[in-house]
């Protein structure tokens, strides 16, 4: 069903131009994925893999040095890369909402909770007076803030960390979005509070049918939350698969390594550790960017960049190993 595709990204390239354009960092270099209503995509990667730049490219909030140099971001049939900032402002907050890592940095300490949660509904849905107040109370109730009619008059500093993150969630939902991008929203939360928050997001998604992009480096969160996963490494998606396929039969050596390095409850086996360090984006290795750390490296990997392979179980992986497997079979 093509019509319920909310977001489609094709060949997205976002580069940073520094030192007057003499140095180019390919932060995002050819990313493709699509997302349907009600679906959750996990965007997994380590620092510098380009997952946050991908998200900022979608909403047009890139820093000055960065520019989208290729590809399309089609949201509900419209290419966002062709929109002016003015048009994007009407989309952000209303149809696409973003939840960031640190709730204290997304909340204004000088305004009441009411004012901040009401803002998107005020501007985008033109609610006023009693209807606006009821909408805010409904949103706060939806994110499980106790006695919202009182708490909404308070300020962010009067809330606990978990409550602040839930309020950011209420703001994100205030404009009635079709897509929510959550960039590591639970890294600062305690485990029991994190579990509560993740369950809350799932409940809200079930009720509203919103599509969710979950940016994280934690595969446990992916296992809990996501329907599909895209694993990023050095600006590219190296593997994309339905969540079960990814955990049961990871295709790319990097995905396998990430899964192997995850400590599991009840196991004392030494963890699989990936040798080496993350590559420098300004000076990427030739061929496959993962080859210096790859346990299965072949001569071809050092010179030729792998293309996408589709082994047929719904997964896509960029690795020459699959070329052998597929041509031999």
């Amino acid at each position: 069903m093509a019509h319920d595709v909310v977001l489609q990204i094709a060949g997205l390239q976002t580069h940073f131009f520094t030192f007057g354009g003499t140095r180019v960092l390919r932060a995002v270099d050819g990313v493709d994925f699509s997302l349907r209503a009600g679906e959750t995509l996990g965007l997994v990667g380590e620092s510098g893999s380009g997952k946050t730049t991908t998200c900022l490219s979608i909403v047009g909030l890139l820093p000055r040095a960065a520019r989208i140099v290729g590809g399309r971001v089609v949201f509900e049939g419209e290419d966002l890369t062709k929109k002016s900032q003015r048009e994007l402002r009407r989309i952000r907050g209303r149809r696409i909402a973003v939840i960031l890592q640190d709730p204290m940095a997304s909340l204004n300490p000088l305004f009441t909770i009411y004012r901040q949660v009401a803002e998107p509904a005020f501007f985008h849905q033109h609610l006023r007076g009693r209807r606006l107040r009821e909408r805010v109370q409904g949103l706060l109730r939806a994110v499980r803030i106790p006695s919202p009619e009182w708490r909404m008059r308070e300020y962010p500093h009067q809330m606990s960390g978990g409550m602040r993150q839930r309020i950011v969630g209420a703001i994100a939902l205030s404009g009635g979005p079709r897509l929510v991008i959550a960039d590591e929203p639970t890294t600062n939360l305690d485990v029991t509070i994190q579990a509560q928050y993740l369950d809350l997001l799932k409940d809200i998604q079930r009720e509203t049918g919103v599509a969710l992009i979950f940016v994280t480096h934690n595969l446990g969160i992916v296992a809990k939350m996501c329907d599909r996963v895209a694993v990023m490494y050095a600006g590219k998606i190296v593997e994309q698969a339905p969540v079960r396929e990814l955990f049961d039969s990871p295709k790319h050596p990097y995905t396998r390594a990430l899964l192997g390095s995850m400590p599991r409850l009840g196991s004392k086996e030494p963890l699989y550790s990936i040798r080496g360090q993350l590559p420098n984006l300004a000076n990427l290795p030739a061929g496959c960017a993962f080859h210096p750390r790859c346990p299965d490296v072949m001569p071809r990997c050092m010179t030729e960049e792998p293309r996408d392979f589709r082994p047929g179980d719904g997964s896509v992986a960029r690795c020459w190993l699959l070329d052998d497997v597929l041509t031999r079979s």
Binding site: E46, S47, S160, G161, G162, M163, D190, V191, T192, I193, Q194, A195, Q196, D199, H217, N218, L219, G220, I221, A223, K224, V243, R244, F247, A257, L258, G260, S261, M262, P263, R264, L265, G266, S267, K268, P270, L271, Y272, S273, I274, Q277, L278
Partner: protein, 321 residues
């Protein structure tokens, strides 16, 4: 277990909080409120709990950065409270710390050699050449080439910096290292390297660890025994395997219920516990966990449970009395 390297008995640390108006201390924050711990030679004790439960205060008391309100900490059989001068130096030489964030725990203006050599310069009278040799040796121990010594911290990635911090902690004849969330700030692919390295070093050198963390899977992986802390008290201690297979205290069970699955098929059917950690300023009466506890009984709000021996460990809960 033979005689423990570190033994903590009935440790308390209460911080005064001033009231609204000027004047004497009005209330107390009971950050650590009666903690008992013991760490044996070449043993790793995991200390797990959520923010505000007092794990960092406990580590500061052990490092003698804070003075306890009451209770004792003994190291190799000696109470550390009265240590002064030479004896205190000897203690500081034997007990070292590695912090969470290697970007803020290493001085950007010092070379790796000087960072690692600093404890040696303070605690030993080795010649500069002997210090250089020792620095090279500990850098090799943590998996770094000795020729990185003249470089500055900014030239290293997070994982390598954490190795430098561990090398510094090992430079003197260290018996115990307090590891305060040493992998939380690192990238996932690098975390496993550091965890494996720590385990290897322990096998090689016989050093003990106090591993503080909030991620159950990581703490359970590296620790031999685990102590679970809630609002200034230990609620349960057990062998790491026993704790994973059969958590006793409802709070420990809640932590396991909230732990993230390692496979999508393990998505928990159970609902995580509700509510948040109460403020340490106004502790609940009776058992501190009772307002959030799914199995709370009337007695829980009146009588505070004490730690009692169960199987391989101890648990403080009325359910087991």
């Amino acid at each position: 277990m033979s005689s423990p390297v570190l033994e903590v008995r009935a440790l308390k640390k209460h911080f005064p909080v001033r009231g609204r108006l000027l004047g004497g201390p009005a209330t107390w924050v009971k950050a650590v409120d009666g903690v008992d711990l013991a760490i044996g030679a070449s043993e790793t004790l995991g200390l797990i709990g959520e923010s505000g439960c007092g794990k960092t205060t406990t580590s500061k008391l052990i490092l003698r950065q804070e003075t306890p309100t009451s209770g004792t900490i003994s190291f190799e059989g000696r109470d550390i409270a009265g240590l002064e001068g030479r004896d205190l130096m000897a203690y500081r030489r034997s007990v070292q710390v590695v912090f969470q964030d290697p970007f803020s725990s290493l001085s950007p203006r010092m070379r790796v050699r000087d960072i690692v050599a600093e404890p040696l310069e303070i605690h030993t009278d080795l010649s500069p050449a002997a210090i250089d040799e020792r620095v090279g040796h500990v850098l090799e121990l943590v998996g770094l080439a000795p020729d990185v010594a003249p470089l500055f911290p900014h030239e290293f990635s997070g994982g390598q910096r954490q190795r430098i911090a561990i090398a510094r902690a090992l430079a003197t004849d260290t018996r115990l290292i307090v590891l305060d969330e040493p992998v939380s700030a690192l990238d996932v692919s690098v975390r496993a390297q550091i965890i494996n390295q720590l385990e290897e070093l322990q096998k090689k050198l016989g050093v003990s660890y106090l591993f503080i963390g909030h991620d159950l899977a990581t703490v359970a992986h590296i620790s031999h025994r685990i102590a679970v802390m809630y609002l200034g008290k230990i609620v349960e201690t057990a062998e790491s395997d026993a704790l994973c297979t059969r958590p006793m205290h409802p709070y420990t069970q809640a932590l396991f219920a909230a732990a993230l699955p390692s496979h999508p098929d393990e998505r928990a059917q159970t609902k995580p516990i509700t509510g948040e950690i109460p403020s340490a300023l106004s502790l609940p009466s009776g058992c501190r966990f009772h307002p959030r506890c799914p199995s709370a009984m009337p007695v829980c709000s009146q009588v505070e449970p004490t730690l009692r021996r169960r199987d391989s460990g101890e648990v403080a809960c009325h359910l087991y009395e």
